[in-house]
Symmetry: C2
Subunit: 213 residues, 2 copies
């Protein structure tokens, strides 16, 4: 049975199995051999569909980030656009935390990622930001999202941080992180996003183009 009449594998099926394994066991544990085993196939068979492991991971990352929402710019409100984009971006990363290193490795050649970057840039320019500021603000917002995801989901503190409690007294509060980690992460992200956007307002007043007031 070297070649069944109907193909066993397909790109979507391979991606799905890969993502399931990554979610369950972590990115480091994923190997082409284990992935093949999960699909009841030989490792070499995967290479009939994906040329490299890297290419496979890149497409999985693309799939996961498809639901990032850049429609918030449609109304012409740059602040709304950034908030919707940032929150949906963060939500996408939170759904598959083990995939974060792949996603944050950059959009690479991923079509959708480039389309979204274009929409953000265009939305900001359309709202009156000079192109150079649009670039910087797009980058800055991404910093916040990716940084928040990295620190939150990649576990910033060890599980047994309590060990250090008495040695570093000021951390006594921070150590409750282990218990209320998700809540603190969420609140920190919202604080950072709000403060950042509030801080941008006076800049906008100063540099915006097409202003008549």
């Amino acid at each position: 049975m070297a070649r069944p009449k109907t193909p066993i594998l397909s790109k979507p099926a391979i991606r799905e199995a890969a993502l399931t394994l990554i979610d369950r066991d972590g990115l480091e544990k994923l190997s082409m051999r284990k992935l093949a085993q999960e699909l009841a196939v030989q490792a070499a068979s995967l290479y009939s569909h994906y040329r490299t492991k890297e290419e496979l991971l890149s497409e999985v990352a693309e799939e996961v980030t498809t639901h990032i929402d850049v429609s918030g710019f449609d109304g012409g409100d740059w602040r709304e656009g950034l908030v919707v984009w940032a929150r949906s971006y963060r939500a996408a990363l939170a759904e598959h935390p083990n995939l974060l290193p792949v996603i944050s490795a950059g959009p690479g050649r991923r079509e959708e990622a480039l389309r979204r970057a274009d929409a953000v840039h265009g939305g900001l320019v359309g709202a009156g930001w000079p192109p150079r500021y649009a670039t910087m603000i797009g980058a800055s917002t991404k910093y916040l999202v990716v940084g928040a995801a990295t620190n939150s989901f990649a576990r910033g503190f060890d599980d047994d941080v309590r060990v250090y409690q008495d040695r570093y007294p000021n951390l006594s509060q921070a150590h409750r992180l282990a218990e209320v980690a998700a809540e603190i992460d969420q609140d920190s992200f919202e604080l950072a996003l709000t403060a950042f956007l509030d801080g941008l307002v006076p800049v906008y007043e100063k540099v915006r183009v097409g202003a008549s007031d």
Copy 2:
């Protein structure tokens, strides 16, 4: 010559060689075998000094981050403290960009990282921020630094992004990134940091403790 009278290896020498190879060839290319070869030794010999590759990398990361400066809080000015911390943090990451994944994997058990986290938290509380806000602001600032480093040094766009220029017209400006990447990165980081801190000021006025005015 199974054991020379004076040891060939030492932890600092191993770390130095590892960092040199990481800087030169990238984190992924580093293997215990290549590292051993560089030190004119067998791979197994490294395990007399470090129990795992992970432990070695963790200590290299600790070494690289030693110069992060939290002294800015000494004057009681939280804004100055955060600026000094954030800039020196970013500078440390920029010096060894290939090591970024290891550093952003979290402080783990690294002593110095915990001491700095404590200093930041204590500095913010000392300046009048409620403990909960101190935690959030410390986290947020780290988001900015780590996010900026990830997007900047881990190459957010492909080298040959120009391919997409006509397909995504609004990216025409963003594509100059390739040439002026370092400058844009720097400016974006400063813009984000400044806007974030400016946005925090009214929050501070509202929540600070020990205020008499």
